[in-house]
Amino acid sequence: MLELSRITAGYDPRRPVVRGVSLTIGAGSAVGLLGPSGCGKSTLARVAALLHRPDSGTVVVDGDPVRGARHRATREQRTAFGVVFQQPRLAADPRMRLTDLIAEPLRATGRRDEAAGAVAALAGRVGLSAELLGRRPHEVSDGQLQRACLARALVLRPRWLICDEMTAMLDASTAAALVAVVEDYRAESGAGLLAVGHDRVLLDRWCDETVQWDELRLEKSPSGV
């Protein structure tokens, strides 16, 4: 279970972007978070992914309270999350070939020797050919790069996936393909999902339940917890 309780977060303590928001996601379930641009939903997603330290409030991952964000979180907690962002260009090191991009989380956690096998398996899954894997980000389309970013998010086999507007830049077919990859992975691994977006039709179709940002502020949790 991923529990965010009374989270207040932002980039200036005097003007928090997120105020007193609570959200609970049951193990293995998929929650879509719907809100207009600028409402703070991406900030909450960053808090949930342990990428941003909230000003106040608590995050509990599978029963373990989180004591810090980014490198201050334990490796065990950090690697429990896979994150996919809206803009693959901004989320990919332009100097890395796609194969290195996907393998980077393994290298960073000292599992370099598993890289070749894991990348090959994931590339097939997200639909990247061997030729595309050898290219750098400027040599592929947004859709192809987002496929690589999704593979990177899955390479450590996370228990939680945070997808922040994963498909907003993509055409309909690529969007459907990437959602199918996420759902296949979840079906096989039992991972939970927080999908953030502004497309209600997409989130309703994708997730077990969809919550509106405004409902969260009333401290109502989707799983009835």
Partner: protein
């Protein structure tokens, strides 16, 4: 590689408008010369017409050549690209025009560009007012004393609030930056508006408002060419839809028939619509071919459930559809109303 297109100079589903078209594109092809003598076929043999008051949505996956087509019309292709064919605005062939003509009479004056990323398109160190006044001064004969009023009028035309004119681009929300960019595009009173992915990254409400505003400008008598991968936005504004795949327009048809009944006839267009979450939500298997390494025949054949031996050859365009085995149209006479 054969660069000679199939002989189909006039797509028949492209109805001849009662008035002269604003833009008439005939067999437009764009080739990029790459290192090692490689050639990338970004656009191949695109033909369409666009009348005043009409909106044509050019849709397709990213990397299919949509934006290159727009750049070709504006004469903004990089130096290693060559465009062939014709793109006529009145008597002027945009593809043959020199840079001086394009800079002084076309960009901003005959074609207004609504850019993909408005906040990046605006100059970050100047206010919206200063950019609008400069544009008004350059494109119209308004005397210096009247610039302020003219710029405010221009802002109002695009529903940009006059109270925000003294802001810089980073102080604007996505929607206001979009309106500022639209205001700039409208200053020259160009008969053709070219909107290149005008809704990328906007939320649904903002997408609806942005395209509704573009539609309003089309209704005021301008021709609107909207390039987008957002099918919902296309459905909302377009009169006609052109579907591009691997550099070719594979289907061009009326928007109501395309999005409603009987639906698209090209298998790719059908599959693209079926990928929408409100429809089957099934992706098209595989990925589009590389534009530098296109197959000799139909480029979609490798992903097409209806493909046969015939698909090793290029399909001709019949009734606006380039396919060897299009989905049959139940009432052929209805299609001509597109």
């Amino acid at each position: 590689m054969s660069l000679v297109p199939a002989a189909n100079p006039v797509p028949t589903a492209n109805p001849v408008p009662a008035v002269d078209p604003v833009l008439s594109v005939r067999n437009l092809s764009v080739r990029f010369r790459m290192r090692g003598g490689r050639e990338v076929a970004a656009v191949t043999d695109a033909s369409f017409e666009l009348g005043p008051g009409e909106c044509l949505a050019l849709i397709g996956e990213s990397g299919c050549g949509k934006s290159v087509l727009a750049s070709a019309l504006l004469g903004l292709l990089p130096r290693n690209a060559a465009a062939t064919g014709r793109a006529l605005m009145g008597d002027l062939d945009l593809l043959a025009a020199d840079e001086r003509t394009l800079a002084r009479t076309v960009r901003g004056r005959r074609i207004g560009l609504v850019p993909q990323s408005p906040s990046a398109h605006l100059t970050p160190v100047r206010t919206v007012r200063s950019q609008l006044e400069e544009t008004v001064r350059e494109l119209t004969g308004v005397p210096r004393a009247g610039l302020r009023a003219a710029a405010e009028a221009a802002a109002e035309r695009a529903a940009f609030p006059v109270s925000h004119l003294d802001r810089h681009s980073h102080q604007l929300s996505g929607g206001l930056a979009q309106r500022a960019a639209t205001a700039l595009a409208l200053v020259g009173d160009a008969p053709l508006l070219l909107a290149d992915e005008p809704t990328t990254g906007l939320d649904r409400d903002l997408v609806d408002r942005t395209v509704d505003e573009l539609r309003r400008h089309a209704d005021a008598g301008r021709a609107l060419l909207m390039i987008t991968h957002d099918l919902a936005a296309a459905r909302r504004v377009a009169d006609r839809v052109a579907v591009m795949y691997a550099g070719r327009i594979v289907e061009i048809t009326g928007a109501p028939a395309f999005f409603g009944e009987p639906g698209p006839r090209h298998p790719y267009a059908r599959a693209l619509l079926d990928a929408l979450p409100e429809r089957a939500f099934t992706p098209i298997p595989g990925m589009p071919p590389e534009l530098g390494d296109l197959p000799a025949g139909c480029a979609f054949a490798a992903r097409c459930a209806r493909a046969s031996d015939l698909c090793g050859t290029l399909p001709a365009t019949t009734d606006g559809v380039s396919c060897h085995h299009p989905v049959a149209r139940p009432h052929p006479e209805e299609s001509s109303r597109a």
